[in-house]
Amino acid sequence: MISREQRTPFSQWWWTVDRLQLAALVTLMLAGIILSLAASPPVAARIGLDPFHFFNRHVLFLLPSFTVMVAVSFLSPRQIRRSALIVFALSVALIVATLVIGPEVKGARRWITILGVNIQASEAAKPAFVVLVSWLFSESARRPEMPATSMALVLLLSLVALLVAEPDFGQTMLILIVWGSLFFIAGMRIIWVFGLAGAASAGLFAAYLLVPHVAGRIKRFMDPASGDTFQVDMATESFSHGGWFGQGPGEGTVKRILPDSHTDFVYAVAAEEFGIILCLVLLALFAFIVLRTLSRAYASDDLFTRFAASGLAILFGVQAAINMAVNLHLMPAKGMTLPFISYGGSSMVSLAYGVGMMLALTRLRSSIEVQSIDAAYGARQPA
């Protein structure tokens, strides 16, 4: 059906895209459907909605997400850069709008309603930001006369300022980690690694001192007796309760008690009902996606492709790792969704956008194509 003989855009895509990676992502999405069916009905019932409210919406968002992912994976690196610039500009505008007109929920302004859809603009900003920063870092290597590093820093500070204003410390942390990693990959001197690490610890310490709920979470992690660790306790108990094979679908009990069982603690619900083996499979899927993308990035000759693919993989991998680590009480509680498994519409679409770019950037390209790109740059370089 998909012949190599005819070079249609689809066949070209099909034979160059990383099909194993694609399979892993689709598996993750399907797993997300099943786990949503397990975790979300009690939550919906508890807040007085139709039990399948969250499930229906999960599936409903999955379709555009899948479309976005595939569509984006068709793009060329140059198209990716341009689209990222547009997406970033749009989402920054939306974040600003959120800060101005968005409703305050639990002390934060993160959501804005457009055409009846709740949108968390910062979610969409993340992958676009990563692509832009990667581009800037690659430019800094290629075109030294351009103040690319400074621009990357400006980009970071402006986004961080917006996120802190919301406030959304989870996203801020994520953005800082990815930016730091990209700077690291871009060749920053080792001494600056320590500098950044120092700055990160200082920032964390400042947050500990200045933001009461951050301090509380860290204290409770260090000493569970110091406060209410109900959610995390329940989560860890569900892992033990589940055992290797789980209690069976529908037999879970944590999901009836945890308020965030369909978002932040879906991993624990999965463990209780389907067992730790399933958790290990999910973990393996995430690890596969991250490491495969990184290894493709490693092999890539183009600096931008290398940086952007790594950055997107890191964004994806760190988010998953933080969620799982919080569920397993390996780190202080931090609201972070598990990619494609947790419920969250705008989060899912923006994730699809991110992994779509990941797929696009890891596509096999003929060396001629790459050389032509380089040549195009070379021609522009001043002698």
């Binding site: 030294p144 490491l291 397993l328």
Partner: protein, 581 residues
């Protein structure tokens, strides 16, 4: 321009930019550096994901804290105990299943609702306590143990999440207080805390539970030596006697002289093991094993047996009873002074303190001490019952001690201990450790120890019978059962002095005296004088008639054939003894 200048555009840059770049990135090939660093980041990701995987695996392996909690709960409930039956197979203690209500606070969604519904269904549940328990950060708390099936049904219908039931074993004692002290009792977790129940736990039952066996499967019932019918008769008579004589306490014991089995044991006041609230009242101790008493004249039996067994004296040896015995600044009196020499039979039947003292002095302090030790009166007696008390023995045992101990003052023993000694005096001379478990005569002989000669034993039986014919035990001579016995009236020590009006009366009886099968001990603590006792409070007026009534009731139960018109002891026991030798 040189080739080098072409390859690196850097020199064309302004100095400031070059400096910044150098500071930020160094001078190495950035492409190669980027590769290496992506590799490094891959390693970090692999490590982080490996840590998460390891954590998952530990949760799976170390596992189920919830299950462990359940395990503990089941442990508490699984304490199924064997039935305890009397020597005829009557059930004295058994397990019945009862549901118990527990809560899992972490699973309760709305604590207030749960408390409200539960206290409405179980009105005797205290709201504050339930709230405290359900608010505890625990996985498992008991809310109410042993509820009725109806209550269980009601609570089940409420459908409160995090509330459940466990079927527990509840110990039930169908005979109520009859065998209270003997059988002991269990706590709410069905663990033995006293009596035979505790002995069961100490002897393997607890280990069995720890090993996970002995849960609900049928266990071999434990057969006791006690006979529920005899127990009831004894308790009934003691209750009446205690009421009649307004005694502080009454206790009694029936022992098989040939096996050491305790066929009945009652200590009043007692308690109902089904309702153990009053069991820890210090007034309700088991006076037969846990209390120690100066046994009074009962002890004279040991003194006489010692003298007879030594061969230095015989039944016709004469002792000076012309006046009080002076020893140092002490003077020993008799209740009924004879003012002449009396022989050994008279010493026993008149219960002469002076005579007993002179007999003991004739043997010497060391022999006296050695004999009582041989009879097991000076060491702590241990039986199956965990409750036991050590006898009170003088530290420095001089002649004065021997004088008083000869008639039962100066040494306090557990009554069960004295019973064991008297058994040995009349059963042919074998000291058999008493037991509460069923035992055959052969098994008893295996643990028995000869302490006196058979001939001495015959003479002791004669003396005891003689005492019932002409001595202080006449009121217990139930026709047909050829009872023999010895009375004892010990003045109680109150504030370091012997109190004349507060006595402990005891009666030790054997029946039938020519070939004893059982020994009965009856003790009354502070019996009061009644018009019909003519103001007397000595044993002959209260303990002895009580003993008589008990024998009349229990001898038929014990299968002793009544024999009438038997010759007096002189001919039946003494003559037969002489003939056989």
């Amino acid at each position: 321009m040189t080739d080098a200048a072409l390859a690196t555009p850097a020199p064309t840059l302004p100095l400031r930019q070059r400096l910044v770049r150098g500071l930020l990135y160094g001078r190495k090939d950035r492409s190669a550096k980027a590769r290496a660093r992506i590799g490094f980041i891959m390693l970090i990701f692999a490590a982080v994901y490996a840590v998460i995987a390891a954590r998952l695996v530990t949760y799976a392996v170390v596992g189920d804290s919830h299950g462990m909690r359940r395990g503990v709960a089941q442990d508490a409930t699984a304490t199924a105990r064997p039935d305890i039956v009397d020597r005829n197979g009557e059930i004295l203690a058994t397990d019945v299943k009862a549901p118990s209500l527990y809560g899992e606070p972490r699973r309760i969604i709305d604590t207030d609702e749960a408390i409200e519904l539960l206290t409405a269904t179980l009105p005797d549940l205290e709201t504050g306590e339930v709230r405290q328990r359900l608010s505890a950060r625990k996985g498992f708390v008991w809310l109410k143990r042993e509820i009725t099936p109806q209550q269980q049904q009601d609570i089940h219908r409420l459908g409160i999440p995090g509330i459940g039931f466990l079927r527990e074993n509840k110990r039930v004692y169908p005979s109520g207080p009859e065998v209270a002290h003997l059988i002991g009792l269990v706590n709410i977790d069905n663990q033995g805390i006293a009596g035979i129940e505790k002995w069961l736990d100490n002897n393997g039952l607890a280990d069995l539970h720890r090993a996970g066996f002995a849960s609900d499967r049928q266990q071999q019932p434990v057969e006791l030596s006690v006979d529920l019918r005899v127990e009831h008769a004894l308790r009934d008579e003691l209750l009446r006697a205690r009421e009649k004589f307004h005694a502080k306490a009454a206790s009694g014991l029936v022992s098989n002289v040939h096996t050491g089995e305790i066929v009945a044991m009652v200590s009043l006041p007692d308690f109902d093991p089904n309702n153990p609230k009053e069991a820890h009242d210090p007034d309700r101790i088991n006076r037969l094993t846990t209390g120690v008493y100066e046994m009074g004249s009962t002890f004279k039996a040991f003194t006489l047996a010692m003298a007879l067994d030594s061969g230095k004296a015989n039944l016709n040896s004469m002792y000076d009873d012309r006046g009080p015995l002076h020893y140092g600044k002490f003077t020993i009196h008799d209740d009924e002074p004879k003012g002449r020499f009396i022989n050994m039979k008279e010493v026993f039947t008149f219960s002469s303190n002076i005579g007993a003292a002179r007999i003991a002095l004739g043997q010497g302090v060391e022999a006296h001490k050695a004999f009582l030790a041989k009879m097991g009166q000076l060491q702590r007696l241990r039986t199956e019952l965990p409750e036991s008390a050590a006898p009170l023995v003088p530290h420095r045992w001089g002649e004065l001690n021997t004088v008083t101990i000869a008639f039962g003052h100066g040494v306090a023993v557990a009554p069960l201990q004295a019973v064991m000694g008297i058994d040995a005096l009349v059963n042919g001379g074998y000291l058999i450790p008493p037991t509460f478990l069923k035992r055959t005569e052969a098994e008893a002989m295996a643990v028995a120890k000869r302490v006196i000669k058979p001939d001495t034993s015959d003479k002791m039986r004669f003396l005891l019978r003689l005492n019932a014919e002409i001595g202080t035990a006449r009121k217990a001579d139930v026709p047909g059962y050829y009872v023999g016995g010895k009375t004892g009236t010990a003045e109680k020590v109150i504030n370091g002095r012997y109190a004349k009006k507060r006595v402990l009366t005891a009666f030790t009886a054997i029946f039938p005296a020519d070939a004893p099968k059982y020994q009965l001990l009856v003790m009354l603590d502070e019996p009061q004088s009644l018009p019909e006792t003519h103001g007397f409070i000595t044993s002959g007026w209260n303990a002895v008639p009580t003993g008589g009534k008990v024998i009349a009731r229990i001898a038929p139960l014990l299968g002793i054939e009544p024999r009438f018109d038997l010759p007096p002891a002189e001919r039946l026991i003494l003559a037969a003894s002489k003939e056989s030798r």
